[in-house]
């Protein structure tokens, strides 16, 4: 298997009140290393659910998800935490930065969590801050930054430990057009630079022209799976 993520016949059913709601219907997909792809669809189509399942934040009702041939369903909570810590980076729609930390400390945090000493990783953090263009904001706290700047910090934080996979849930939803464009450009650049696979969930049309693969979801089913080579249109 060449993929880093393999999704096999995944079903996710939620209990809503007294009724069951099926968010995903037997989804099967593979994600290649270094991919730059998106799950596209309207609200309630299952994009975020799928990202959460890949991230090990939620468990499928049936079916399996493999990360580098390891079945996530067989990992206990502690092992899942370790899986996320070692392999994944998350970017959230609402940034989810730690409010009492500075830009520098937010980006440093995942490295400390991984057992690194600050002195050993300081330069990596500074480089990452520079690569998202926030060197002059390094001491500021999230409340002192704009939405676009916060999302840059979130991206830097997700990338700093050089994970194999970045999961970004609607990363441009809270940004204006200009900032969305900058963030997407930045992520595409970092994707090339760090070779990490980026998987977005989005319903933003603008994202389409940046990704190399687009998976369309509707009512929890895959409706299309388009790929693009180079800068051509998605096929």
């Amino acid at each position: 298997m060449n993929s880093i993520v393999a999704i096999e016949k995944v079903v996710k059913v939620y209990r809503v009140g007294s009724e069951d709601f099926t968010a995903l219907h037997e989804i099967s997909l593979e994600i290649e290393p270094g991919a730059f792809m998106s799950f596209v669809g309207p609200s309630g189509s299952g994009k975020t659910t799928l990202l959460n399942l890949i991230g090990g934040l939620d468990q499928p009702t049936s079916g399996s998800i493999f990360f580098k041939n390891v079945k996530l369903g067989e990992l206990n909570r502690t092992a899942l935490a370790e899986y996320r810590r070692k392999n994944l980076g998350f970017v959230f729609q609402t940034y989810n930065l730690l409010p009492v930390y500075s830009v520098y400390e937010n980006i440093l945090f995942p490295l400390l969590l991984d057992g690194n000493k600050e002195s050993a990783v300081r330069q990596s953090v500074l480089d990452m801050v520079a690569s998202v263009g926030l060197s002059d904001q390094i001491k500021k706290r999230p409340s002192q930054l704009s939405g676009g700047q916060c999302q840059r910090v979130a991206i830097a934080r997700a990338l700093v430990k050089k994970p194999a996979l970045i999961l970004a849930d609607e990363p441009t939803a809270n940004l204006d057009a200009e900032n969305s464009f900058q963030i997407l450009e930045l992520m595409r650049e970092l994707n090339k630079q760090f070779k990490a696979a980026f998987v977005f969930s989005t319903h933003d049309e603008k994202v389409t022209k940046y990704v190399t693969r687009e998976v369309g979801l509707e009512d929890g089913r895959v409706c299309w799976d388009k790929r693009r080579n180079g800068f051509g249109s998605l096929e």
Binding site: L57, D58, Y83
Partner: protein, 389 residues
């Protein structure tokens, strides 16, 4: 690492952390203050009773009961030698009889309390009686407490007719002169009491050398024909009353602890509620449930420990000030509670420590419990801020 993160989180929370710490510290102070005030009330009551009336116990005429005035005449005796030989600092002889005072044409039943004027065991401001001769003359000198003087509408220098019966049942009457009106810290030896010289009262009632009781500094052993009443026995009625009060005080203490706990719980749960997304984010980054719970519990513990420090500092300042002014309980002057002066705190270190431990435990518990619940749920709920609603 967790400690550093917890400290950073806690120390940078600003006003939220300050409020959390101050509310908890004030809760501790309120609980300790309340219970110490009850302690002070009880201690002061006991002290005043001992100082002015009870001393180290009473050797009483068999059957004598201060609460049965109609039987006082029937229970007096001559002081046994073993007690008579004690120095004035070790004993105080007293004769208690019934009388009737007629101030301003009113009838006022009174307790005539004759006290050995040379005694120094009981702290009674009766110097006004010392200058009179041993033999009672035409006018009987008496000292009144302020409460008694007010009730009888008498002041220093006033006279009133006093009527009493001697040992043979013969009624006699004479003018009484108020030689002094004094402050009595124990209202039980003030209201309704006329203080006379013992030798005068013995002479008036034809009971030479007879007393109702002899207060002693300490137990002198069993004496033939006389009963010994311990301090506990002599103060049992008032101590029972205070114990009842104290029981209510303990209920109040539990309620205060409970309310403090609710306050702390509210503050902490709000804190955790506001930080649900942060908890979800930490879990998404790969923190284990145990690490997240440990982090928040550590933050709660830091707040709790800082609350203890703040409570100690603020409490010391507040209590020091309070001890210089006390609590005015003059509104109780009409009651039989033997406390007249301001109440001071009686702080028991054990109660301070236990109160602090309980509140610290509550704080740590309410830091641990909601976060533990969140981390056991699906992290996506925390990320959406819906783990606790």
């Amino acid at each position: 690492m967790i400690f550093n993160i917890a400290w950073k989180n806690f120390s940078r929370q600003g006003i939220r952390a300050v409020l959390n710490v101050v509310v908890t510290a004030l809760a501790m102070i309120a609980v300790v203050f309340n219970i110490s005030l009850y302690n002070g009330f009880q201690a002061q009551t006991t002290r005043n009773m001992i100082r002015t009336d009870v001393a180290g116990g009473h050797y009483q005429a068999p059957g004598f009961d201060i609460l049965s005035p109609t039987e006082w005449e029937d229970h007096s005796l001559k002081v046994p030698e073993v007690l008579k030989n004690l120095p004035p600092s070790q004993k105080a002889e007293a004769l208690v009889q019934q009388g009737q005072l007629f101030p301003n044409r009113r009838l006022y039943p009174v307790q005539l309390r004759g006290i050995d004027i040379n005694q120094t065991l009981l702290d009674l401001p009766l110097e006004g009686l010392k200058s009179y001769r041993e033999k009672v003359e035409d006018i009987i000198p008496a000292v009144l407490g302020i409460k008694m003087a007010q009730k009888a509408h008498l002041k220093k220098g006033d006279t009133a007719v006093l009527k009493w019966r001697d040992r043979f049942g013969v009624v006699d009457a004479r003018d009484l002169l108020v030689v002094d009106v004094v402050t009595m810290v124990n209202s039980r030896v003030d209201g309704g009491v006329l203080w006379l010289r013992l030798d005068h009262l013995q002479d008036m009632t034809q009971r030479p050398d007879e007393v109702s009781w002899v207060a002693v500094a300490e137990f002198q052993g069993t004496v033939q024909g006389i009963e010994f009443q311990t301090v506990d026995e002599l103060t049992s009625d008032i101590l029972n009353l205070i114990k009842n009060e104290r029981r209510y005080g303990k209920i109040f203490w539990v309620i205060l602890i409970f309310l403090s706990g609710i306050g702390v719980f509210n503050t902490q749960i709000l804190n955790v509620f506001k930080r649900q997304k942060e908890i979800g984010t930490l879990m998404a980054f790969g923190m284990t449930s145990a690490q997240v719970v440990g982090l928040f519990t550590l933050e709660g513990s830091m707040a709790a420990l800082l609350s203890v420090v703040v409570a100690l500092v603020l409490g010391t300042l507040l209590f020091t000030w309070f001890q210089s002014v006390g609590l005015d309980i003059s509104h109780l002057s009409e009651s039989t509670i033997p406390v007249h002066e301001n109440i001071l705190l009686d702080i028991h270190p054990g109660e301070v420590v236990s109160t602090m431990i309980i509140i610290v435990c509550i704080m740590v518990l309410v830091s641990w419990l909601p976060v533990r619940k969140i981390t056991r749920l699906d992290p996506t709920l925390a990320l959406r801020g819906r783990a606790i609603t």
